[in-house]
Symmetry: C2
Subunit: 770 residues, 2 copies
């Protein structure tokens, strides 16, 4: 099913040979970003073949009016769209008046793309014959500076292989862009001012409705065989495509180099009236440093990132490449410096799904950033939601809830719900549970006990209030039920009593009650403040308790399993292995009607609960549920295989765990779901990381202690990684069923290794003292 | 809750006094139509206040690309929209250069609208003072000829009350129109040619995509104090608004009359290249006859309609006006002459809901047309679906069904499904049952046994095949279930085991099997042809039988009722009387989320089944179910109160039956749902008729015999109506608990009166021979 053309390499993603059919896929795979902005791997020179052009700026969005068949009360007004920003990478090149264009060239003699994950460099080289017979070769390097944030650089080298030819080189900035994902083909940008000034260009723009101000900028310099060329011939500004054109004649062997700097400065970080001058400073500073030095800084940043976050897999190049690709992309998407940003499902690699924060953030991404970066980054993710609490309360009010109940959005940019479908926005309420769980997860892992009293409890109360209003008492069942929900498995819509939702709702209520009790003794003053601020009443807590005691959890005695939802067993219980290959993925081959009525599971649902709340169940229960649900699970969501992989490790199904791991880690590289051209599955990459760290390494916190149970796939020789744990770094190396540790902390670290307590002393690399 | 400004009158709808706030409502209520076209009661002269302009032509539609948040496989491509057609009624009038416009006039001294239902005449009179102080009065008459079909006429009289004034009179045809209900603001029309020729104007247009050709036409003549005025001053054509202007000076007491003829000829009925010449003939013929004679012909048609369809209620003017208004509008909407037309939910009075055929046709409208017109009209409605069977099979194939299974559309113009929402199109499959039921209903009532062998069986087989594939066997329940449906109660979406759907599916399968058995002995050759044509296999029939034997019907032993759907009792069983008035209608005040989770019923669902299949249940069962569901039923669908009213009569709850009757019969006149300005609830008007005929008269067919059980609301003195029954007319008069009959048939008619067999002899008016 998978279709890979990427060569195996430990640190590099390499594509060899040019095939127009995979240009859009490669544009996704070779995407680059620096947390503040990102670009699909579009060519700098003109390309007339099928391509998906995309440059995106973190936090800049457009509230696209929702598109619904029949608007009903409570539907969100808009779907926040990630906006395609002006393109600053473009360089039009003509050779003897013919556009240089890989799609129309007569012959492509060589073509290679390389994404060097170690240093964050995207490079490309090619050799071709033009329609007019001219032959040339080129090599291009590009990066978005991890250090500078707001700028990037390109070095574009051309060597003429024919006797001679005249070149027109036109580096430009292009505001004539549009979103592929747009509901109404509205313009998203209003361009206010365009300036071309010598070799620099500036485009001042404002997003419509949201009124973000952005100055896109670029500056380009040319040199011939290392000698700078003089002034540009001609500036142009053709309807917001602006730049300059230099004409030059090359002879065989001549080396022409175009060095281009560009980026965006925005009103998110600067005074909107100062943007052009800030952009000019950015250009000056880039020119001062020059390409190499900028690159060195950038590469240093990547060294620091890898120093903490690398995972080294011995004996499996394919798996190694997969995990590094995932870690690399996660770092390109979010750096954790800005608590207004979050991790969109496609990061900066595409437009689909819009928004920037899904429950993916809490359920999948938080552990990665918390463990490979540090608590402050994880805390920024929690603060993102805390800051949006007032909007989450408004979201709930729009649906008829009150008294400070919060429903965090399914999709958002600014806290407002912004998705098109009622079956998602109104019903996929389990997201509220994941947001509560993340607060627990953060405190549990970091031992930072300050967050809950300061901020977290307020969020927990608001979510508990939501659950308390969202349940109703069924006289029939003599239990509390939650009706009309969509669980994580979106191949069911509007079901009653989804086990996962009920379970996490009950857990939230219990956890909130526990925190309040804890506060009474440990931080009474902060508790009092929060109680006062939220106007929390004792009766509310009493009701929460009553709900936790009487929450309904659908269970089937015959199969001895919890049911994904009421009535699940009324379906025709066809299993995945009975499906012909040509039916899969069913979301591309079956009508929605047929999918909804089938027992097929898009992504782990009941098992997602077993992953979160593993300690609540016996090993046998886990095994029973895994075995029951696996045959129906299609993993057509990218968020699914990682959970199954982790649980498979627990159940010692190592072959299965490994296959699922490969599927998750190489989902995009091998294009399992035949959709990589739309962009990468960024948030699920954190799931890949989880499947190594929580799966093969078996990392978890057990009664406050770090617990590890390393267990590698058969042909992995070794596994090494680092954990940023409670203020110091634990290096873990596992090889030949033997774990060795290095601990940077001053005090020895007590941990559980395969359920045995051990102590790791600081400073030296040691086998653990058992 | 209701807000009526319409005076009570047995034959007229009268509005007195001008109020701009009710212009849009009156535009709906005073709508006129002749089955082939219709118009909202827009003013002829310019009106600058809030108004909803609408002229519609039967069978002319636009396939508007569907608007969905997230397209999934099987979603319909388009939503067929009723198109607003060029307006031919317009007459711009200026008085001393100031536009005559009720919205901007200084004073309105008198204003009256009258819809004379007896003759189908819409008239209006007013007296006003213009902003420039000029006073005048006017009276306007308008009708769309029931005889001619394609044309109508207007007579507009103006009398000057001031000393003198100059008038510019500009009758026009206006192609600058757009739909309020448009998904993408696409243009729906392409105007090909405009011609103004003397006092006539023609606009040749083509609908986009569907390519219907339409020639809109008009001709106007002016006379002063009865003397024709000469040639028009000036023709104009301003971007497809075309006509002529005549200037004239009037003195006090002068009477200016504008007589205007207009209409549409279309490629549905004529060669598209001949349309203009046909239109010219229409104008000539109108001119030859003149307004009065055209009106006389039109009025004669209405006499004939009323002769068969009138219902006379003694002693209740309000109810009398209500029932006539419903009968009048149903006749304006559909005449039954053209088997390509059907009865759109808003007829020609608005755009909402698009399409022309819903299940309303079979479940509500068929009995009205069958009984007040005759079997040929009912048969045309059945043929409409028969002709669309291939498309219904395609609709099912798009969802993954096969082997000739048909899913008739929820909404259609040409047989293709065309609605925006999956929860409706994929899931509201009970419509298929209503289409099968209509075949039964037709044969049962008319005793025309030829339709099923000729056409009906093919439809029944295709629908049975659908049910057979749509059920699945639940091992859990050891029964066949139907998962993922929306029942008639659209305040539930995607439920499992909806009782009504399961019941009508089982009924269809049984009925189809019975018809096949009957065919074996009674029409073996036609059966063989159909079997061959449909490739029907014995195994299929075996499976149908098995399904009928094992169909699951949700039942609750405690309440001793069938449940609307599985899990209905898990809801918080709040009743309608616990709802504050300001919460209703909940579809305007509650979020969709809250509605879906509530137990509230939009329209009769389980009780709809009790209405269709009354004979399957005991009186006690009916009573139990009525009493159980009534407290949850909001009647927020116009199709609901009539069913409850009929059943209430059965249960001798006469006060309740009457209240529900008034609500259905005066739904639009009294604007119960605060939405009449969007158009009238045409199809529910047939439900009103049912509530009199099947309710108060108790008409049904019982074992092949006409059965009546007249029972009137307390203060009705009498009730008279006619029934076109099996080739002759039965007149029924009920008064003082006594029924008298007149029968036009040659042979005596045996019927059941209050379950007693009686015989009604022909020719004479008689009390029945008991």
């Amino acid at each position: 099913m998978n279709q890979s053309y990427i060569s195996e390499d430990a640190w590099k993603i390499v594509e060899t040979g040019f095939n127009p059919d995979r240009v859009k896929a490669s544009e996704s795979i070779f995407s680059i970003g620096n947390g503040a902005m990102g670009q699909r791997a579009n060519f700098e020179e003109h390309y007339s073949g099928p391509s998906f052009q995309g440059s995106y700026i973190g936090g800049i969005y457009y509230p696209d009016k929702t598109k619904v068949g029949w608007w009903k009360n409570g539907y969100p007004d808009y779907f926040a769209k990630v906006i395609n920003a002006p393109n600053w990478i473009g360089i039009d090149i003509t050779v003897d008046q013919i556009p240089l264009d890989l799609f129309t060239s007569k012959k492509i003699l060589q073509f290679t793309r390389v994404l060097d994950m170690k240093t964050g460099l995207y490079s490309r080289s090619y050799e071709l014959e033009m329609p007019n017979g001219i032959q040339l070769k080129a090599s291009v390097k590009r990066f978005l500076s991890m250090k500078e944030g707001e700028s990037g650089a390109i070095e574009y080298n051309i060597e003429l292989l024919s006797e001679k030819a005249s070149f027109d080189i036109s580096p430009y900035l292009n505001g004539k862009i549009k979103n592929e994902d747009s509901n109404w083909d509205d313009p998203f940008w209003n361009h206010l001012e365009a300036e071309v000034n010598d070799q620099s260009a500036f485009l001042l723009s404002k997003t419509l409705k949201t009124e973000f101000h952005v100055c896109s900028f670029m500056h380009a310099e040319l040199s011939l065989n290392g000698n700078p060329l003089g002034d540009p011939c001609k500036n142009f500004n053709n309807e917001n495509k602006l730049g300059f054109t230099t004409a030059i004649n090359l002879s065989k062997g001549d080396q022409l180099t175009i060095t281009k700097y560009g980026g965006y400065v925005t009103s998110l970080h600067h005074d909107e009236h100062q943007l052009k001058s800030v952009a000019k400073q950015k250009i000056s500073s880039s020119l001062e440093k020059g390409f190499q030095s900028l690159y060195d800084d950038h590469s240093d940043c990547w060294s620091q990132i890898w120093a903490l976050s690398d995972i080294v897999i011995g004996g499996d190049l394919n798996a190694q490449q997969g995990i590094r690709f995932n870690i690399f992309q996660l770092n390109q998407t979010y750096t954790g410096r800005d608590d207004r940003l979050n991790i969109g499902p496609k990061g900066f690699t595409g437009e689909k799904y819009g928004g920037s924060a899904y429950w993916d953030t809490e359920a999948y991404c938080l552990p990665f950033y918390m463990t490979t970066k540090g608590p402050e980054v994880a805390k920024n993710l929690l603060k993102y939601r805390f800051n949006q609490l007032p909007k989450a309360i408004e979201n709930a009010e729009k649906l008829g809830f009150n008294g400070g109940a919060a429903l965090f959005p399914m999709v958002t940019m600014n806290g407002e719900e912004c998705h098109n479908e009622w079956e998602i926005t109104f019903e996929e309420i389990h997201r509220n549970g994941a947001i509560a769980y993340a607060i627990y997860n953060y405190e549990n892992f970091t031992n930072d006990t300050s967050y809950i009293p300061e901020k977290g409890l307020e969020v927990l109360i608001a979510i508990s209030r939501f659950w308390s209003q969202r349940v109703n008492f069924s006289n029939q069942k003599n239990k509390y039920v939650i009706l009309g929900v969509t669980g994580p498995n979106e191949y069911e819509n509007n079901v009653d009593s989804n086990w996962y939702t009920n379970y996490i709702a009950r857990w939230t209520l219990k956890y909130t009650i526990n925190q309040i009790h804890k506060g009474k003794t440990q931080w009474p003053e902060q508790l009092q403040n929060t109680t006062k601020k939220t106007n929390l009443k004792e009766e509310e807590i009493d009701r929460w308790l009553e709900i936790t005691e009487k929450m309904y959890l659908p269970f089937d005695a015959k199969h001895n399993v919890y049911l994904q939802q009421d009535g699940f067993l009324d379906k025709e219980m066809m299993t995945v292995d009975q499906l012909d290959d040509d039916q899969r993925p069913i979301n591309q081959n079956w009508s929605w009607d047929r999918i909804l009525r089938s027992p097929f599971i898009k992504q782990a649902d009941t098992l997602q609960g077993f992953y979160f709340f593993e300690d609540d169940f016996t090993h046998q229960e886990l095994e029973d549920h895994y075995n029951f649900y696996k045959p129906f699970t299609l993993h057509e969501s990218s968020l699914s295989p990682c959970i199954h992989s982790i649980l498979a490790v627990r159940l010692d199904k190592m072959k299965e765990a490994y296959e699922l791991y490969l599927r998750t880690s190489r989902l995009d590289l091998d294009d399992y779901n035949i959709e990589v051209e739309e962009g990468l599955h960024i948030t699920s990459m954190a799931g890949t990381w989880m499947s190594v760290v929580n799966g093969f390494v078996g990392l978890k916190i057990k009664e406050g202690m770090l617990s590890l149970k390393p267990k590698l796939p058969q042909h992995w020789n070794s596994l090494s990684l680092k954990i940023n744990y409670r203020g110091a770094v634990l290096t873990i190396h596992h090889e030949n069923n033997d774990s060795t540790f290095q601990w940077s902390g001053e005090k020895p670290l007590d941990l559980l290794l395969n359920d045995h307590p051990i102590t790791v002393n600081s400073s030296k690399k040691l086998n653990p003292t058992l």
